[in-house]
Amino acid sequence: MAERELVIPGDMLGEGISGSGTYMENGKIFASVLGLAERRDKLIFVIPLNGIYSPKTGDGVIGKIEDIAFSHWIVNINAPYSGVLPLNEAVTDFVDLTKTDLTKYFNYDDIIFVKISNVTKTKSIQLTMKDRKCRKLYGGRLIKITPAKVPRIIGKGGSMVELIKNHTGCQIVVGQNGIVWIKGEKEDLAIEAIQYIEEKSHITGLTDKIKEMLEKKTGKGDENGTKINS
């Protein structure tokens, strides 16, 4: 198997340990999704080129408040299942539920960056705001990308998203669920770059291409000093 070879469901990938995007039958490993096959030592896995978001514990996602119940919020996390954010996972101070309206904290259609604290076998999704990065996102724009391509948008050690931030001066938050929040003067350029990455995620030398594109459009290199932590 060649490095990062395009594979189709049912393609035989050899022998070893069956990783994500693969399945084992009669001791052989086969691709279960359309994507790029990779081998790391004995582990064989396929990075999908498309697919919906499947929630995993520990993922940071961008969600929208869909419903408000007595003591929790229901959050749309761009997955087949909604997430549940209990009051005590969202607010640290004591809340008297008989007197407080939960919309005071999060209202319908509010956008939040939230962590998945637990996914049960039957796909109940528990959410928490108890993480440094979790917060409500005000303003800005949201775009949807293929969740499988999130690692390409982020890049190695966050290098790709840093590159875009530095060239556009935008705040960018990338949810593992394929929702990206962008806020800043050059939102359009940031979106263009992200969409380009999504479209060409399977080609090599992508970072250089993006850098070239951003430099051409902004007419300069990094905007020093505009680094903003996501």
Binding site: L6, P9, S32, L34, L49, N50, P80, T146, I203
Partner: protein, 235 residues
């Protein structure tokens, strides 16, 4: 028997008995659907679109341990010589069911409990084997949507016309033939996942028909795989 549909050992459209009509397969032809596919077999044209896995509506249909596959096969009203009345018919409901059942064996539905995968198959032009073209487009669409699956399902039909067994009957062969037998084939496990037949055959003929159909399905399978590959390899 007077032979009208076979002339000098060839079929009315010039094909040999074991030849499929020209095929055209494409992946990712629609923007909004999560996955899509196109499959043309001669004049029969099918497109398929996938949404999901997503939340199940109505909720009582959801299953605790696996995704459900919902399938809607529909023939466009302009797809036939005489206008086809729009909306579901008894025929289209039955075909929706057998298409769903033909595809389910390859899907890892257990990876998405309590969710639904919606498959829409639209026949844009009908000249026999519409369910086969629909399945072929659907398989491409499912793979294009990134839905985990063990293999692609490939489908074609065989028939008996003027006493002769032949692959992929079409046109007059369809309306005047004696037997029509569509199959769907799961190559990795050598299994037939859709099987229907109208007509009269002996046990021996049935076996021959199935062997021929399997050969046809393998050609379809190659075309499907090529379609998925070329979506990403063109540049």
């Amino acid at each position: 028997m007077e032979q009208k549909l076979i002339v000098d050992g060839k079929r009315i459209d010039g094909r040999t008995f074991d030849q499929l009509r020209p095929m055209e397969a494409r992946a990712g032809i629609l923007k909004n659907a999560d996955g899509s596919g196109y499959f043309r077999l001669g004049r029969t044209i099918a497109i398929a679109g996938i949404f999901g896995p997503r939340q199940v509506h109505p909720r009582h249909m959801e299953e605790a341990e696996a995704a459900i596959l919902k399938c809607r096969y529909n023939m466009a009203s302009f797809s036939t010589t005489e206008r086809n009345r729009p909306g579901p018919s008894r025929r289209s409901k039955e075909i929706s069911k057998v298409i769903r059942e033909a595809l389910m064996p390859v899907l890892f539905l257990e990876e998405f409990p309590k969710s639904a995968i919606d498959l829409h198959v639209e026949i844009l032009q009908a000249d026999a084997s519409t369910r086969c073209a629909g399945i072929n487009a659907a398989s491409i669409a499912l793979a294009d949507a990134g839905i985990p699956m063990r293999d692609l399902i490939a489908s074609c039909s065989v028939g008996v016309v003027e006493g002769q067994i032949m692959l992929d009957i079409a046109g007059k062969e369809d309306t005047e033939g004696d037997v029509d037998l569509p199959i769907a084939y799961y190559p990795k496990r050598d299994l037939i996942t859709l099987l229907q037949m109208d007509g009269m055959v002996t046990r021996e003929q049935l076996k021959q028909l199935l062997e021929l159909a399997k050969k046809g399905a393998m050609q379809v399978y190659e075309a499907q795989r090529q379609a998925l590959r070329s979506k990403y390899l063109e540049e």
